[in-house]
């Protein structure tokens, strides 16, 4: 890959130098030429237009070939399977339409490049054509809209019958905390005005619901159970972005936002997929290569990477926005329960 980049840079640099040479040549005053395109220009530029569409195709093909593996792995949440499906359908439509229209645009630019002897066709209107290319987008978009809206409603409407596990995601500059609702599965009231000492989330200590709440700095989720996240922010806007679960919601100071999903793969299962194995191998190869350079400079080496689900901040929130993250662990329900049991509840912490 690096070798390819070096070659690319050299080629592009060469092209740039050549063009520069041309520029100087061209910028010299010439006699008897006009700045209006003549047949020769039309011809050259027409051919270049044809080359342009081929460049666009080649760039797309190369991008897919080279970077297909950087895309997100399969969805780790149930609703994500639906959105991925919709994403794929939309992408196919986009590519079909894109390939055809770009071809027509550039091919016409090439095919009808001007010549003195040619005559353009006076063709100002055709209601039938206009109707066709109005109605086709209408039908396609209607399909996409309906599909999209059903999916959206499905994701956003949380049914209380499903008995979701309630977890609060709490954002502040520049870290995350998670609060589990405890045995009663109801979060205690909280407000930033109550923040004091160890009560970092401003939970109301007098609220009976709050006593069994548990605050942690690593998010554990049980596989197969619906999780209802209640999001809060302490200072500025943040966004809880969990790309592997196709989940995102802003955290807004002064209000509680929510998002729900059901994890369908444990961290271990995800690590075992071919996609992730390849990705981890690739990343570790890069890191090993970088370490050679770092070792030479006597700097600290990079640790080898192991895959974990991530919670990232995805709304600009200050200088360390780029490093506001939390690890997410998805495990089987019994393991999750064991882990949760070990965490101290709020009553214990506040009474210490």
């Amino acid at each position: 890959m690096t070798a390819f980049l070096v070659v690319l840079v050299i080629i592009l640099f060469g092209v740039a130098v050549m063009q520069m040479g041309k520029i100087f040549q061209m910028s010299r005053p010439q006699t008897n030429t006009s700045e209006i395109a003549n047949d020769k220009d039309n011809n050259t530029q027409g051919w270049l237009m044809l080359a342009m569409v081929l460049f666009i195709y080649a760039l797309s093909a190369y991008s897919f070939y080279a970077w297909w593996d950087v895309l997100l792995p399969q969805s780790a949440s149930e609703h994500g399977l639906q959105t991925d499906q919709l994403f794929l359908i939309s992408m196919i439509i986009i590519f079909v339409v894109g390939i055809i229209t770009q071809w027509l645009l550039h091919y016409f630019a090439f095919r009808y490049r001007g010549q003195k002897k040619n005559r353009a066709l006076f063709y100002a209107d055709n209601d039938r054509l206009e109707f066709i290319w109005t109605i086709i987008p209408v039908i396609v978009l209607a399909g996409l809209i309906i599909y999209g809206l059903f999916t959206w409603t499905d994701i956003m409407n949380v049914d209380a019958d499903e008995d979701p596990l309630v977890i609060e995601l709490y954002a502040y500059q520049f870290d995350w905390r998670a609060r589990y609702a405890g045995d009663d599965n109801t979060l205690g009231e909280a407000n930033v005005r109550l923040i004091e000492g160890v009560n970092q989330l401003g939970v109301d200590a007098s609220d009976p619901y709050a006593q069994d709440d548990k605050v942690v700095n690593e998010l554990h989720l049980p596989k197969g159970r619906k999780i209802l996240f209640k999001m809060r922010s302490q200072d500025v806007l943040h966004s809880a972005y969990m790309p592997h679960f196709r989940a995102q919601m802003n955290c807004v100071p002064g209000m509680i936002t929510q998002f729900a999903f059901t994890p369908n793969m444990t961290t271990e299962e995800m690590r075992g997929t071919d996609e992730i194995k390849e990705k981890v191998a690739k990343i570790n190869k890069i890191r090993t290569e970088n370490n050679v350079a770092l070792a030479a400079e006597g700097k600290e080496l990079l640790e080898m990477y192991e895959f974990d689900y991530l919670l990232l901040c995805n709304k600009i929130c200050g200088n360390s926005h780029y490093n506001m993250q939390m690890k997410i662990v998805v495990e089987e329900e019994d393991k999750f329960n064991e882990w949760l049991k070990e965490q101290p509840n709020l009553a214990t912490i506040l009474n210490q």
Partner: protein, 608 residues
């Protein structure tokens, strides 16, 4: 000359024919002549563009090679880049000011300001804008706001750094980010003045188009450029005041202790008194302008393209009425889609459904426009002037960028790509690059009109075009992939996440293309400045165009036409029209019939 036009001339320019003695100041500085004002807009816009693009190169260097020292950073950023490595706070400042400058100062004022001013009076057959004085004020307010925005770069704590959308509370609290101190105050002051400038300009454009059209220039005979500028001005008048209200409330929150957008905040170890406000309210107000703003940027570019493509294809624009209808439909829809920027803001999901619906609807008039452009090329006799190349490329990026909008406009899909590089790639292609291409097309096409028939060097134009066209795709096409990989925008570096290590080489590719593309703009600048003074003089109507501006005097006189204003007898697109017997063009040997030529004997009337 008819009574109508005479009254016209007398009303507005009783002095016409014997000009005031103009001093240097009234001619070049406080000029009330629309042609001079348009040049002032263009040059200020280009200057701001240089700053905006230079900033993007700096932060692209940081993204491609984090922790690598660059002398260029030390030179430009000084204390914010000790040892040549950029500081996180200045990274955010750069992306913020890059966005602000490019969207407002280059693509709103530089594009719409330049060409609305130049073309509205010239193409509708008016001697000047309805109010030359307001027009002058509009430019000088824009100049003042540019000065303040540039000044804010030199504030000690740094310029505004909360992103170009300046969402509170981040933008309201200096404790949250250093840029939200003095830098943010100057940003708000600059934008408030900018909005005043834009409103004065827009009102003037609307009044001029409605009232000062020459005899025979009915609305359905207006060139599409004018339709685009006219509708753009209307959208501006409808939506910019809302941004002003948001800016004023933000100023109140920042300086006078109100709580419009702030509530329940604990920062820097203390609880703020603010209670009951909502940042979501700000988002609504901002995007009520912010989305129409996309079309304020784009419609003038599409208008310019329509004119340039028809002229250079030597064909009428296909489906003139459909084009006008889609401009109107886009304008209307653009004011009811703002919520698609807020699907995951915490807004009620039902609203999300409504905005998904309206957003995807806007794809229909956009598709109609794209197909009409393509059909205009079909069986044309394309004259590949640089302006034409940029116009074709505009259609290409408009399609590519527009198509990914289908994903982002769909609330269910937006969840996972919101605020990632996918969005950055999308909007740069569909509005940034497309609108810039419109700007370039306009400059190459109307340069002779601006500078007394001097023309820009076409070969330099070709070099500029091809490097830009290839480079722009090279920058923004790969960017979709890192977005789909889940990489958030506005990250100072991606090294905090080993997961994103494999994106490093994509970022290098993007940066290399960005540097090459930016370098190509130097060719344009050289060509622009050189041609201004030494450009070869071309004929009066170099592109053999139908519109009225090419009948105006080459020498810039206040009043545009030395004699009476020409009357209009046809629409602007009678290119390659044949006579009744199909033996020759309507005017034998000439493939175009300018708007001021009356209907010929052997010509079929076409309803225009």
């Amino acid at each position: 000359m008819s009574a109508h036009a005479e009254a016209h001339a007398v009303d507005h320019h009783d002095d016409h024919g014997h000009h005031h003695k103009e001093t240097f100041i009234t001619k070049y500085i406080f000029s009330q002549d629309h042609k001079m004002i348009s040049k002032q807009y263009l040059i200020t816009g280009l200057f701001m563009g240089i700053i905006g693009i230079a900033m993007s190169i700096l932060f692209r260097l940081q993204l491609a090679w984090p922790d690598e020292p660059f002398t260029v950073m030390e030179i430009f950023l000084g204390k914010w880049a000790e040892n040549g490595v950029m500081d996180p706070s200045v990274y955010l400042a750069l992306v913020t000011i890059h966005g602000t400058i490019m969207v407002f100062f280059v693509l709103t004022a530089g594009l719409s300001g330049t060409f609305s001013n130049l073309l509205i009076p010239l193409q509708i057959g008016a001697r000047d804008m309805a109010s030359g004085f307001l027009n002058m004020i509009s430019y000088w307010l824009f100049f003042l706001s540019s000065i303040i925005m540039v000044m804010s770069l030199f504030v000690e704590a740094g310029p505004a750094s909360a992103g170009w959308t300046v969402y509170p509370p981040l933008s309201a609290l200096p404790q949250a980010i250093p840029g939200s101190g003095m830098g943010m105050t100057l940003w708000l002051v600059s934008m408030a003045i900018f909005i005043a400038s834009s409103l004065l300009g827009s009102l003037n454009y609307i009044v001029t188009v409605l009232n000062l059209r020459t005899k025979g220039m009915s609305m359905t005979r207006l060139p599409l450029t004018i339709w685009a500028f006219f509708v753009t001005a209307i959208i501006g008048v409808v939506s910019f005041p809302v941004l002003l209200s948001a800016a004023l409330m933000l100023i109140m929150d920042r300086s006078f202790g109100t709580s419009f957008f702030l509530s329940d905040i604990y920062i820097a170890g203390e609880v703020l008194h603010n209670q009951g406000g909502s940042p979501v309210l700000y988002e609504h107000l901002f995007w009520f302008l912010g989305h129409p703003e996309v079309y304020i940027v784009l419609l003038p570019a599409l208008g310019i393209t329509s004119e340039v493509i028809a002229t250079n294809a030597r064909k009428p624009i296909f489906g003139y009425r459909a084009m006008v209808a889609s401009i109107l439909a886009i304008a209307f829809l653009s004011t009811i889609v703002w919520g698609h920027h807020m699907f995951i803001s915490g807004m009620n999901p039902f609203l999300g459904s409504v905005f998904t619906f309206t957003t995807l609807l806007i794809a229909i008039p956009s598709a109609v426009k794209a197909f009409n452009y393509i059909t205009t090329l079909w069986k044309g006799n394309l004259q590949m002037n640089p302006a034409m190349l940029f116009s074709i490329a505009l259609v290409s990026t408009f399609i590519t960028g527009g198509l990914t909008g289908i994903i982002l406009g769909d609330s269910a899909l937006d969840i996972n790509v919101h605020d990632t590089y996918f969005v950055v790639a999308h909007f740069h292609l569909v509005m940034g690059i497309s609108a810039l291409y419109g700007l370039f097309a306009g400059v190459y096409h109307w340069f002779p009109k601006m500078f007394q028939s001097r023309m820009m060097n076409k070969n330099l134009g070709y070099v500029h075009f091809w490097v830009t066209a290839v480079g722009a795709y090279g920058v923004f096409f790969p960017m979709h992939f890192i977005g789909m990989a889940g990489l958030p925008r506005r990250y100072y570096t991606n090294t905090a996440f080993p997961y994103f290590d494999d994106l490093a080489d994509v970022n290098v590719v993007i940066t290399i293309f960005a540097i090459i593309t930016a370098a190509a703009q130097l060719v344009f600048l050289y060509n622009f400045i050189h041609s201004m003074f030494h450009g070869k003089k071309g004929p009066k109507n170099p592109w053999k165009s139908n519109t009225l501006e090419w009948t105006a005097e080459i020498k810039h006189i206040h009043g545009n036409w030395d004699g009476p204003i020409p009357h209009v007898h046809r629409w602007a697109y009678d290119y390659s029209k044949m006579n009744k017997d199909e033996t020759d063009y309507v005017i034998p040997g000439q493939d175009f019939v300018p708007q001021h030529i009356p209907l010929q004997d052997d010509e079929e009337e076409m309803n225009h």
